[in-house]
Symmetry: C2
């Protein structure tokens, strides 16, 4: 007997027929004797419909009222799933964020979960054998008593936070892919599904463009050591063996649970990058703040930052990347700040890509990045910039070479199936 | 300066443009210096959509989950209206039933309001000049903490209960008619809008088929002496003078507020009636229970009941009406109970109509009903049965004569405009 959280996203609950399919997944685990908490999103399309109404009502709308409106989507799904389960003979009840409660910060629209009270759920597992059906994405602010939401994709985070609160053995994220791959299978057909991946690796993969899970859910899993299992929502419930120790999917877990650790686990890439280089910046304290402060004020998200040691002791070049859609705006912000920063000129390119190689094994292996640089050079791929961290290195290259670079590195590190 | 509740139904908030129109109505009263609480329904069609999902999910669904699902409709509207008001410069916030709270009984799907806490609203009127935007139709059960709903049309009841809780000077019900008429204007073009009507009269009118207001809202208004003002939601906000002492509409109030009391205030009618007569029922204690018990068990709503004093001292005839749609079922129930009841035969007709004449003035005037009987006889309309109460009498006639009877009585009692 295990205690499980099962999370289903919007496409899995898009209509009543699919909600019934979700209920069959839940019944499978329930019938196998597991204690189950289900976390659901709004029916696909419903959140967009409600967001559309908010925009139409007031372009600059009150974020508290926005949260009140959009949280209704998850409320509907949780009620529908609970009644479907009841009709199948599974004892169940729905829980809204304010009922549990799931306490959050006051940052409406992108609130952070502060505390989840799981006591009542555990009590009901024991006393009533009752499945808990929880609305994802939403919570309540303790002082104001108002409904909050966690931002897009927040239901993943809800699921992991609830799993932590009830000390679940596993948090199953049912999604439209059947696990986490060594890289995007659409680019590299020989990409393999990973059986396991360490939290830290998944964090890098998730923030480097793999869209499987919301980054914050992985952060929470890391902090609370919640084993997250990514699996397919398309599998037919009746085809799954609830007693199998290894159902198909990817387990995100502590690195100690991963016996045969590869040096490189996966390769992420992002093509929506633009590179900006500021030439002959005066090399003095405060210059980085003078550059990145105005960009932050303009809500431009800066990613890779490369600053080399000054050659002449007086000036240096600083290179960084921004989302391609912010390229023009970022250049304008920097031009306006020319006098505060002090520089010769701005270079840049909006057709660049970032390729990242990720693996906890890099910690104990030397020369991993060097192999990549040779392999890319052999293929004639020029590296514009390099950044490294303990378990990852990233290279910035011309976007046209993205697929070639990813395939080259995928083969190089033995990831092909 | 007055304290007002303003209630808007589903068609008034059917889309964002109409919600904006509602906001202009609210702003008009707010700008005039009034303290305002607004009660809203779900956007037209949304409740039906959600009810459809519930039926699809489980034909016999859990009423608690049903309430969770459908209450989302009002939540959406209240958030949208609050943000629209804010965008117009009106301080506002939305309130769900559980936030206030509005405590109800545990009868999910048709809960009764037990208590409304209006203290926080009054505090915010005074301290922040804030408009309260409340979700109608919903509440919370104190012990279970679960969302309840009041049943169809429940937002009228919410509005009156909130008006009582905050001691509002008036509860304005904005609806698709511009007031309460002496009778249905589609049948009698000369029907007049009543400027005022007493609570008791409105109760009779509402339960006799006038669909303007939910009956329970009028009951609540009677008990708590909440003045209810029925007015049109189609009037353009800018055409209404918020300082007018008599805006167009009908005020439902204590009879003492009505100076020039008419003998007859209005005429209601219902064509969806069927008559059942049980012939030669044994006239002994318990026979009425033997008849109406099985009908109640079958959820058949019995209305007019006429039992005459027995002529032979041994048997009597009992006549009553049921909704036309229950006619066949009611006869079957009675046939099945033949041995318990004991009767000769059952007669009946499914093409009958009930016409009711209502007026508080009847209390102090004699012969009011007799005038009607003469007038109907002159027109050749046969009366099948008669019932009377202190402020009302009803006649059962052939359905084909309904319009003629209503028009005849409308003229007879001086109600034509």
């Amino acid at each position: 007997m295990a205690r499980l959280v099962m999370k289903f996203g919007g496409t899995s609950v898009a209509d009543v027929e699919r909600i019934r399919n979700v209920a069959r997944h839940v019944k499978r685990e329930y019938d196998a004797g597991h204690e189950v908490a289900v976390v659901v999103s709004a029916m696909a399309g419903k959140t967009n419909e409600m967001v559309g109404w908010c925009r139409e009502a007031a372009p600059l709308h009150d974020a508290r009222e926005y949260d009140t409106v959009v949280a209704a989507g998850e409320q509907i799904t949780s009620g529908l799933l609970a009644m479907t389960l009841e009709a199948m003979g599974v004892t169940a009840r729905s829980w809204q964020g304010w009922q549990l409660p799931i306490l959050t910060s006051n940052a409406h629209g992108s609130a952070r979960i502060l505390n989840v009270n799981g006591g009542e759920l555990i009590k009901r597992f024991k006393e009533r054998n009752e499945v808990a059906v929880l609305s994802g994405f939403q919570g309540i602010h303790k002082e104001t008593g108002r409904i909050t939401t966690l931002g897009r994709g927040g239901s993943d985070t809800s699921a992991v936070a609830i799993a932590a609160a009830i000390q679940a053995d596993r948090c199953d994220i049912y999604t439209d892919v059947d696990g986490v791959y060594t890289t995007d299978p659409r680019v590299v057909p020989r990409a393999r599904r990973l059986e396991r991946i360490a939290f830290e690796e998944m964090l890098e993969l998730a923030s480097q463009g793999a869209k499987v899970l919301q980054v914050r859910s992985v952060e929470l899993g890391t902090v609370h050591n919640v084993r997250i299992f990514v699996r397919s929502s398309f599998d037919r419930p009746e085809d799954i063996d609830p007693y199998a120790s290894h159902p198909p999917g990817t387990l995100i877990c502590d690195e100690e649970e991963i016996v045969e650790q590869q040096v490189v686990t996966g390769i992420a890439f992002s093509k929506d990058e633009a590179q900006i280089s500021i030439r002959r910046v005066r090399d003095k304290p405060g210059v980085a703040a003078a550059i990145f402060g105005p960009l932050a004020d303009a809500s431009i998200n800066v990613d890779m930052i490369v600053q080399n040691v000054s050659a002449d002791g007086a000036t240096t070049d600083i290179t960084f990347t921004v989302p391609a859609s912010d390229y023009d705006r970022a250049r304008e912000v920097l031009k306006a700040a020319h006098d505060q920063i002090g520089y010769d000129r701005i270079d840049g390119a909006s057709d660049v890509a970032k390729v990242s190689v990720i693996g906890i094994g890099m910690r104990s292996h030397v020369g991993v990045a060097a192999e990549a640089f040779s392999a890319l050079a052999e293929r004639g791929i020029n590296i514009r910039a390099i950044t490294t961290s303990e378990i990852k290195f990233s290279v910035l290259i011309d976007a046209a070479y993205t697929e070639l670079a990813v395939r080259t590195l995928h083969t190089l590190y033995g990831l092909d199936k």
